[in-house]
Amino acid sequence: MTEVPKDYDVLVLGGGVGGMESALTLGDMGFRVLLVEKEPSVGGRMILLSKVFPTLDCASCISTPKMAAVSNHPNVRTLVYSEVDDIEPQDGGGFLVHLTRKPTYIDPAKCTGCSQCETACTVAIPDEFNYGLSGRHAAHIAFPQAVPKKAVITRTGSSPCTFTCPAGVKPHGYISLVRAGKYEEAFLQHLEDAPFPGVLSRACYAPCEEGCTRGLLEGSVNIRAIKRFMADRYYAAHPEPALVPPAPSGKKVGIVGSGPAGLSAAHFLARRGHAVTVFEGDSEPGGIMRWGIPSYRLPKDVLARDIRNVTALGVEIKTGQRVRSVDELLQKGFDAVFLATGDTGGRRLSVPGEDLPGVWDAMAFLHEINARSSLSFHGKEVVVVGGGNVAIDSARSALRLGAKRVRMVCLESRPEMPAHRWEISDAEEEGVEVLPSWGVREISGEGGHLQSIELKRCTAVFDAEHRFRPVFDESTLQRLETDIVITAIGLVPDTSPFVGELAMNRNGTIRVNPETLQTSLPRVFAGGDAVSGPSMIVTSIGQGKRAAFSIDHFLRGETMVPGEFDFRIPEADKVSIASRSRALGTVREPSHLTRTPAAERIQSFDEYEGTLDEAAARSSANRCLDCGGCSDCRECVAACPADAIDLGMRARHESLSVRTVALATGFTPFDAREKPAFGYGRFPNVITGPQMDRILAPTRPFNAVLRPSDGKTPSNIAYVLCVGSRDEQVGNRLCSRVCCMYSVKQAQLLLGALVSTEVTFYYLDIRAFGKGYEEFFQQTKEMGVHFVRGKVGRIEETDGNDLIVHYEDIEGGGGQKTARHDLVVLSTGLLPTQGAAALFPKGAPEVDDHTYIREVDADLEPGVTTLPGVFVIGSATAVRDIPDTIVHSDAASAQIASYLKKGGAKT
């Protein structure tokens, strides 16, 4: 059988000390090695240690040469931040390896390791390399001696707020900026993602808050309020925009309609340098934002200021110019046209009496009051028909016009009402009466005067398929005396001018490609309510943004890749984030906005919601859980001197062929939370051995040995051995080999670092078995460390965060005893790393009773697994200390070399 040439002789999976040793030895022998490491740096667990027993060599000092050697070895290619997905045996020998190179969001070729992104980053998350003792930034270099020394941005998913926003606004981003006190940056970031921060900070229904993970805890982060704080603050400081139009592209775009969709498209197109003209039939721009939303919800000056951000980019808005046909625009020489004509007016009730004077269409009514008319409902009774947000706006406006009684009737039952629940409760608070489950039978009047409206009971609004198909009980009727009826039962899209020119949908909306928003005419795009039917402002802004994206591609002659517009990565896992936060137990209640009391606020159309002060805004922003890691605030982009940040980077997949595989996947540290009686995770001064190693390391998180609760120097430290080892309760009966010695080593270092500290060991056997270990242990005893033979049953905490250790004193007379310590170190053990089997879907190497990868003959054939061509190194087959890992790695390398030299057919 002839063997197909392979890309590599050996795949070494895992860049810890064992993997590195093997890669170097095999490389020295002349084999081509591919070393794959899932973390951003090679070095494994050893590089995180302080010093190593029994020589007390500095772990960094003896690891870094190997790390550097691996990355510089001519025969070794090292892929960090990469995961092997599966390993497939090939006919004729060898394996096909599928691997994923996880996105670092920073171009490693450009990154110089200068850490500026780290300094600029606004997100702090627990530092896994310090075992959670301290925080780190989302943009970070794993540790100072990392190889390669390249920054990586941690993004575990799109944060739910950002993932949810229909306009592609990134709340996590501006919240993290507000938290950092970077208010202007926060505002400008919003402007980059969507126009109208002022409008959205008031009139958005804030689906981001619905998505917010904190909603699973004490309540969502009040994102909209934070936005309003930053928008108000920015506008107070900058009454006029300081934006400069970009260099012109030479292309012209005509936009019909100056509502949220039209102006959003204008905004993004102008930012790409296109000359944009917006045609607006009305006297002022803004569409629904100008004419549909009453000013107590959205002051007109805020809208005007938002619009000036768009016009400052060079967008020309021609008001009073109603466009009658697409052709008319194309004739004017526009390279592309965007139709965003929105809705023209309300749907009709089609009941008798609908045309009586005193019956208003809601849109016409809201237009009237927004045109600052002198309309007054003083002393009148008003009935609003409809259960949506427009109906609510109409009812509350009617109150403000002086109506003495305002009732809302709607087909839907209360929970079915389409208006947002807070809108309904605000309206009711102001005095609006809501009558759900009623349909209109007729409107009647006398002598041309409206007198009453007759209602019939609505028993169901939707059918089984949730289609709108109301059912009425014509026998249950009610008549309301009223002076005014306002109908708000839905909106009709304004597309009539284009009926002959463009393909239309049956409901009167314009037919488009949903991905590109392109109509049946290539140069013509359409979006907003004219396409989707009635929707929300933020959705229309998103449509305008999408249209701008595809029009820009169109104008540049580029084809749009499906899905390209969507910048998001999959949503971060809310449930696990919430449970992580719950475990931390920090409770932070949301802060609330100030509001004018209902009785007072209905006296005028003035805005009634207050804005957060700076302290409240920052503490609100501090409630953010940083769900996805990176917030997308883009401070790093601005800070990076090498222009290396690429937030659009995505995972890359590679397939490579190798002749052999060496699994060096190491061990998994025991999670001390699984011994709840010891209080780890609950008592701040109970830490683990690996954490103490970090505290003692040269790259330590704090500058001294201290206890976490109060930063004081500990004076009486306890070591509890065999935590997670030799313990059937936690499912690990084996000894972890290293804990006795690392604890003994730490004791020596502690006695060297702290002048008058007592150290006590609670142990069963001290397993100082390796070369030089026993002597090291004896030396430690002579230094004055107390060794108490006995098992610890439980640990309790005192008021001052000291700890009471309950132990069985086996040799001091027996019985249960207690001792007080101010710091307890749990000597946690090592467990097998799981998951190697999943890499081999077509048959995996066998594991032993303890789920370590099994060696066919542990005595004579170290490193040889049950799968030919697959080898195992170091702790992946049984936990080992460093010297034994080195020996085992080199032994496995000899096995691999033998296998390869014999043509890979060793039995």
Partner: protein, 582 residues
């Protein structure tokens, strides 16, 4: 006083990197001050402080600096050259700077760590050391490594389980093996050991299979009753002589030598825990008994109903004279747990008492300990200050012990057999040590370069130590260490050549008058007498020379110097060290 005339100094372009070692240095030495001071030297054209000079990023920065500033010399002030000389030489080479124009200055072990309570003094000393380093670098010249061919043959000394298994691995890699065994049979200790833990296989069977496979290999030659008696040459091409049982000596040329000479079981002194009394045996003696008679358990014809094991005999002793027995023998706890479980499985009624200090069934061997307890063994802990007493009276054997669990209450056991769990002791190997001159630790075992990271390599390039010759190990660990040496040997020999350090001695023939002092001083046989014009002078073979400098001090004419450490360099360094700056 007039200064002696000096050769005009050639200006150099030297870069200096001062390493903080993440606080190891900078906590005690003002690294920035050191940098600023040395930057004043006219030959120093660049200087930096780095948190970890050895880190990848810092190395890249150094490479860039060497290239951009066209440096012709580099000084890194960091740790001992033992740690990072090779690192920074390789880095220099990557940057295009001859690695021998690099100088390492040790301001950690020899400065910051030695003066942790005197920052000012340590800073001053560091500065002097750096100045000396710069002075040394001013005198460097580019040197090329000496490339020599290697012989694809390996000498393995000792045909126990480690040596046998290694021979097969080397043979698999395509290297020829000469396997030399002192005794008249291969298999070593394991062959006599009976049942092995944890595999439950017979040691004789295991070694028997290995021997059979070794005999079947074309490229393995097994020499019994043979010894290494002579070694010369250098890494990649050693000339050795083997004396065989017939008294012949066979000359061989090998690329590498692996020492797999194993251990000796510790032999208790008469009276040590009752050794010498009837019924007191060592663990290996028990194992041999059981290997011969696996089914019945009798001692001198009498059935054994109770056994007492005394652990740590010959191990974990206090420091004493001569060879230290302070070490733990590592394998004995697991082996004894295994033996007792095996015995209980055949003789369920047998009572077994284990008198131990700490049970060290580390890692997965914990299940052997657990198995022994489940099978009915009783474990009693004794303290090193209160060892058990073994005696014999008219009723038979008596073991007395203070039970630590029962607050020191005296316990008496009357066993039929006392087994002293003896540890591993180093072999004397006098002849071999004379030939190989390997360093030996205080425990009597061969000493590796670095116990953590280079456990099978020795200070002699191309000579490896494996198995229990390096320290106590069980079978699996011995084999792993032998195969580890196998891969290191492969890395050395499979490429067909090695490169040697060019920092070797050189004779200035104009000064040499041949007195022979240098030749007598050289332990490597690297110096020959040759004709230079019409006079006889000394000449150094760069391949054989180790650059150790014995010849330099022997020469009455100062005609010999070691490249990289010339007389003028040393003088310049001393001047720099002693110089008082204003």
């Amino acid at each position: 006083m007039t200064e002696p005339e000096q050769a005009p100094k050639v200006p150099r372009r030297i870069g200096v990197v001062v390493c903080q070692c993440g606080g190891n240095i900078s906590d005690y030495v003002d690294t920035e001050k050191v940098r600023a001071e040395i930057a004043k030297d006219p030959d120093v054209v660049s200087s930096r402080v780095e948190m970890f000079a050895c880190s990848d990023a810092a190395q890249q920065a150094s490479v860039q600096e060497i290239r951009e500033k066209k440096l012709d010399g580099l000084v890194v002030c960091s740790c001992s050259p033992k740690l990072h000389l090779a690192t920074f030489r390789a880095m220099s080479a990557r940057a295009g700077l001859n690695p021998y124009e690099y100088t390492q200055v040790n301001i950690r072990e020899q400065c910051s760590w030695a003066h942790t309570h005197d920052r000012e003094g340590a800073t001053g000393k560091a500065l002097r050391l750096v100045r000396a380093g710069v002075a040394h670098t001013e005198g460097t010249e580019p040197l090329q490594r000496i490339r020599v061919e290697t012989i694809p043959q390996v000498l393995v000394i000792g045909a126990g389980v480690a040596g046998l298994r290694l021979a097969l691995a080397l043979s698999d890699m395509g290297l020829s093996v000469h396997l030399v065994e002192k005794s008249d049979h291969a298999g070593g200790n394991v062959a006599r050991w009976g049942t092995l833990f944890p595999s439950d296989r017979s040691g004789e069977e295991v070694t028997g299979q290995l021997i059979e496979e070794v005999r079947g290999r074309q490229n393995i030659q097994l020499y019994l009753r043979s010894e290494l008696v002579e070694k010369s040459g250098r890494v990649g091409a050693f000339s050795v002589r083997i004396r065989t049982g017939t008294g012949d000596t066979i000359p061989l040329t090998v690329g590498a030598i692996v020492v797999a000479t194993g251990f000796e079981p510790y032999q208790p002194a008469q009276g040590e825990f009752g050794y010498g009394l009837e019924g007191v045996v060592t663990l290996p003696e028990l194992k041999e008994m059981l290997a011969k008679e696996p089914r019945s358990l009798t001692y001198h014809g009498k059935e054994v109903r109770t056994i007492v094991y005394v652990y740590c005999v010959g191990s974990r002793l206090p420091e004493g004279e001569g060879v230290q027995r302070t070490y733990c023998s590592r394998y004995c706890c697991s082996a004894t747990s295994h033996v007792s479980t095996t015995l209980n499985s055949v003789h369920p009624e047998l009572h077994q008492f284990h008198l131990f200090r700490d049970i060290r069934t580390y890692g997965r061997y914990e299940s052997l300990y657990e198995g022994a307890r489940r099978a009915g063994s009783v474990f009693l802990r004794y303290g090193e200050e209160d060892p058990p007493e073994v005696s014999r009276d008219d009723q038979g054997l008596l073991v007395r012990l203070k039970d630590r669990l029962m607050a020191g209450e005296p316990v008496e056991i009357r066993p039929d057999l006392v087994v002293l769990v003896t540890g591993m002791a180093p072999r004397p190997n006098e002849e071999l040590n004379r030939v190989l001159k390997l360093p030996i630790g205080t425990d009597g075992f061969y000493r590796e370069i670095h116990v953590k990271l280079r456990p099978v390599e020795t200070v002699v390039d191309g000579v490896f130590i494996v198995g229990t010759a390096q320290g106590p190990k069980n079978v699996a660990e011995s084999v792993a260490s032998s195969l580890a040496a196998g891969s290191k040997t492969g890395a050395l020999l499979l490429r067909g050549h090695v490169e040697l350090d060019p920092q070797v001695a050189r004779v200035d023939p104009t000064l040499c008058t041949w007195c022979g002092e240098c030749q007598a001083a050289c332990p490597y046989g690297a110096i020959d007498r040759v004709l230079y014009g019409d006079k006889e002078v000394a000449q150094v073979s760069p391949v054989l020379c180790k650059g150790e400098g014995g010849c330099v001090s022997a020469c009455p004419k100062q005609a010999v110097s070691v490249l990289g450490y010339t007389h003028s360099q040393i003088t310049a360094m001393i001047d720099a060290l002693a110089r008082e700056e204003a």
